[in-house]
Amino acid sequence: MGVKVQQLQQFCDFGGLATVNPPKGTLLTGVTPTVKKVTLPPNTAFYALGVSFSLSDVVAMALYTDAPAIVATNSTEESQDVIFMPVKEPLIWHYKMPASMRFFSGNISNIYVSTSDKKANFVFAVALD
């Protein structure tokens, strides 16, 4: 039995000029997401999450860290993507967003996470079609 994927909050306030604050919406039901939730010690180099998937199969995915972290994909030496993660601000993509906003540029064979001199609680979740 799968779970529900919901966009809970998307709020933006342009200092009173404009506000975007839609109600929460269900994106998917009955999916079985892959979730990797790890606490990484300071100065971790290339911790492998051990996930692989085709980008075209992704219907929703998210990355999150509560401390500085760098994400690299597929190779630690010649990475397909290198992402300097925003801190405490998730990177979210789902099927109602343009494909160009996906934060990975191709199929994923592994995801590697590195930390700074701070411990990081890191989360990756992906739901596939």
Binding site: V3, K4, V5, Q6, Q7, L8, Q9, Q10, F11, C12, D13, F14, G15, L17, A18, V20, P22, P23, G25, L27, P33, V35, K37, A60, A62, Y64, I83, F84, P86, V87, K88, E89, P90, L91, I92, H94, K96, M97, P98, S100, M101, F103, S105, V123, A125, A127
Partner: protein, 133 residues
């Protein structure tokens, strides 16, 4: 200076990701466009000039599914994206540049509302630095 507050949160079953407010202070000018777009509107032009590389926040939303925004040229736009009800597009400078939904400087936008009955309330807003900074 106008601060812009952003919150994003998604759940995968019981796993909640995000939900912490982010406040963006960089940039000192906001450009906000907000219009009601009649049903069956095709490529209605509006001026919305800004330089994408000076942009620190960009947000687009619609309360009707399927609204399309194109930039600069309705026939061969520099950027084109579709908006869905309750799913705004949001980008700020903490996120990778590759996640911007507007990638080129904009002079004009063209808005299409394909819905046959519903008027769409559409918003496009950017925060940017001024040229003489």
């Amino acid at each position: 200076m106008t601060s812009i507050k952003i919150i994003e949160e998604i759940t995968f079953g019981n796993l909640r990701i995000g939900g912490v407010p982010a406040v963006i202070d960089q940039g000192d000018g906001s450009l906000v466009w907000e219009q009601n777009i009649n049903p069956n509107t095709n490529n209605l032009p509006y001026l919305f000039p800004f330089f994408v590389n000076l942009c620190s926040v960009m947000v687009a939303s619609s309360d009707v599914d399927g609204v399309v925004i194109k930039t600069n040229n309705s026939g061969s736009p520099d950027d084109q994206f579709t908006l869905y009800k309750d799913n705004p597009l949001m980008w700020d400078l903490n996120k990778p540049t590759s996640m911007r939904f507007l990638t080129s400087d904009v002079t004009q936008i063209f808005v299409t509302n394909p819905d046959e009955t519903k008027t769409a309330h559409v918003k496009l807003a950017v925060k940017m630095s001024l040229l003489n900074d």
